[in-house]
């Protein structure tokens, strides 16, 4: 299946890598131009914009008591007051950036850790493979939110701890996906050629294998970012988020639930922003996966069907 690499592969390999890099940029671009990708990117970009610009344009301080508790929307307070009489609009504008930063950090952590573990497990085989995948099994035995709650149970809701907990709980899934992708690639001729030249294993993984995993890595990154937002906002909703009086979308939904029949906007607007963000992220990731993998299926379904359907080995 793999094309034979000629005797002096170094220059050609460099050229091939340049082409690959160029390719995923264009995959990203063509994903953004599909209807699904365009809508997804638009939705996510809108919410990110609200979260990033929001703190600078908020009319009031997020923790200032300026109106009535659950006050009705008015000309001065467009979305009314929250359960303490703080301006809902200002709190919405101020409550997104912490979520975004935490989700981004957790995703980077989960992808970096999972990719390292998955690629080394598949490439090194043997004992490393066994130990890494057994550790992954252990973490996978906890539902992600339960794993996060477990780590939060003694130290309390520290934001860095939440970020690390979510990142660590992503790593095993990422490791599994990248392990099976690596198993396939490490048998290819260009990897064998690099090994014959005496390249160290770490360098083979970094220079030869990883550049070929860009597509699955980016699909994983999109999925994990969406899940990070879901879990971190969910933890904030449960009361494990930025400590009061700080504004955060997940926390706002929970603290204003009692006033739903008086002034629903304090719940609806943050819930809507979280929903638009995760829907947008997911649509764009889906568009990217369709372009990059080239099948009319979610990647995880494709993997499952390959494993299980009667037509396969």
């Amino acid at each position: 299946m793999a094309v034979n690499v000629p005797a002096a592969p170094e220059a050609r390999l460099r050229q091939a890598r340049r082409i690959r890099r160029h390719q995923w940029g264009s995959v990203l671009w063509s994903a953004a131009r599909t209807p699904r990708g365009m809508i997804g990117l638009g939705l996510a970009a809108f919410v990110v914009l609200v979260a990033v610009i929001g703190p600078f344009v908020a009319p009031n301080a997020p923790d200032a008591l300026v109106t009535l508790a659950f006050g009705k929307p008015s000309g001065q307070f467009l979305l009314g007051g929250d359960f303490l009489g703080r301006d809902v609009l200002s709190r919405v504008l101020d409550g997104g950036w912490v979520l975004l930063i935490m989700a981004a950090c957790a995703t980077v952590l989960g992808i970096a850790g999972g990719a390292t573990a998955g690629v080394s497990a598949a490439y090194l085989r043997g004992a490393s493979d066994g130990i890494i995948m057994r550790a992954a099994d252990v973490i996978l035995s906890f539902p992600q939110i339960v794993f996060a709650l477990l780590l939060l149970s003694l130290l309390g809701p520290r934001l860095w701890l939440i970020t690390i907990a979510v990142g660590v709980s992503h790593a095993p899934q990422v490791a599994r996906v990248l392990r099976s992708a690596t198993l396939d690639i490490s048998e290819r001729d260009f990897v064998k050629a690099a090994e014959l030249q005496g390249m160290r294993p770490a360098k083979v993984m970094w220079k030869e294998i990883l550049p070929n995993l860009v597509s699955p890595l980016m699909v994983e990154a999109g999925l994990r970012l969406t899940y990070s937002i879901v879990i971190i906002a969910g933890l904030a909703f449960l009361g494990f988020g930025p400590p009061p009086p700080a504004a955060s979308w997940g926390t706002m939904i929970n603290e204003n639930r009692d006033g739903l029949s008086l002034s629903p906007w304090a719940v609806i607007v943050p819930a809507l922003l979280i929903a638009l963000l995760t829907i947008g992220m997911n649509m764009f990731t889906d568009a990217f996966a369709r372009v990059a993998i080239g099948v009319d299926r979610q990647p995880e379904e494709a993997a499952l069907i390959e494993n299980l359907s009667p037509g396969s080995r």
């Binding site: 099994d137 035995s141 709650l149 649509m283």
Partner: protein, 313 residues
């Protein structure tokens, strides 16, 4: 094969128990200080240390805890003084009812809708459903729950209770109307995954050689669909139904909290808030054990449902 999976499961469960133990007992700082906080007079800290066996060595502590699990002596809740088992047992039953009812409804809905969309592939309902599915799969469960509460029990209509408070000592089935919203939330969250998988597998089955063969033989179309295609499509879908049960182990945490449903998830959130270590340890371990068991059962069923796999391995 089944035996090997079981053995691996037992080893994983042991490692999980070690992780739970380490995460709750040996984090930096003394647990007794962390629990008592500012009220930690030396005498009270000392008393709590003895109650939690913190004055023993690490191995001793682990042994006391794990042997307690087998003899039914789980200690007492630090928050309310009740025996852990007596406090958690009715909640396990309530959560089990929630998970079971949700799983059954979701599985039937997902399989039926998935099969129908596969038969009407590329018609407009198929496209609409595929977009709706993509949107719902990216929504956090608390956003779905809040949307249902807004529509069905506060702002729009008042047809269902927004909280599922149960009198102590009664079980979930004694007041079925309290189950409606939590079950509806979880069904909405899990059905799309099953639907998507069922659709993909059914499309694959309908395009296969054996379906073509059956059609060429002149088998009536209903028989082709129900007898030839459907069973083969359900095999990979079982795996996803298993995965949704895994998801439910974590999903109940947030949904029970939203609706104040007296289950194991709500108890976990309360316990983490109150740093109620014996309760946290037991619930997390119970959820992880459930997770592992479902995983093994799913694998075995998928194996039995796929003849070719059974022979090869």
């Amino acid at each position: 094969m089944v035996g090997r999976r079981l053995a691996a499961g037992v080893v994983t469960l042991f490692l999980v128990s070690v992780v739970v133990f380490l995460a709750t007992e040996v984090l930096p700082g003394n647990a007794a200080y962390a629990i008592l906080g500012h009220e930690g007079t030396p005498a009270r800290v000392r008393a709590l240390e003895v109650a939690l066996h913190l004055n023993r060595g690490l191995l001793d502590q682990y042994w006391i805890w794990i042997s307690g699990l087998f003899t039914g002596n789980l200690g007492h809740s630090l928050a309310n003084g009740l025996p852990v088992w007596g406090y958690v047992e009715p909640r396990i039953i309530n959560s089990a009812v929630l998970v079971f009812v949700t799983g059954v409804i979701g599985a039937f809905a997902g399989v039926a809708l998935g099969a129908v969309t596969a038969l009407r592939k590329d018609g407009w309902p198929d496209h609409v459903i595929s977009v709706v599915v993509l949107a719902i799969t990216s929504l956090p469960e608390f956003v779905v729950a809040i949307a249902l509460i807004i529509v069905l029990s506060t702002a729009v209509w008042h047809v269902l209770p927004a909280v599922s408070l149960l009198a102590p000592g009664t079980y979930a089935w004694s007041q079925p109307e309290l189950l409606v919203l939590p079950v509806a939330t979880l069904v909405i969250v899990i059905t799309p995954y099953i639907l998507r998988m069922m659709r993909a597998a059914m499309v694959e089955a309908l395009e296969s050689d054996y379906v073509e063969m059956a059609r060429l033989k002149g088998t009536p179309e209903w028989r082709v669909v129900l007898v030839h295609a459907l069973p083969n499509a359900i095999a990979p879908t079982i795996q996803v139904i298993g995965l949704t049960f895994l998801y439910l182990a974590g999903g109940v945490v947030i949904v029970e909290y939203v609706f104040n449903f007296p289950g194991i998830g709500q108890a976990l959130v309360n316990a983490v808030n109150g740093r109620d270590i014996p309760v946290i340890q037991f619930i997390v371990l119970a959820l992880a054990a459930f997770y592992l068991v479902v995983n093994i059962v799913t694998d075995v069923i998928a194996l039995l449902a796929t003849p070719r796999r059974r022979i090869v391995s």
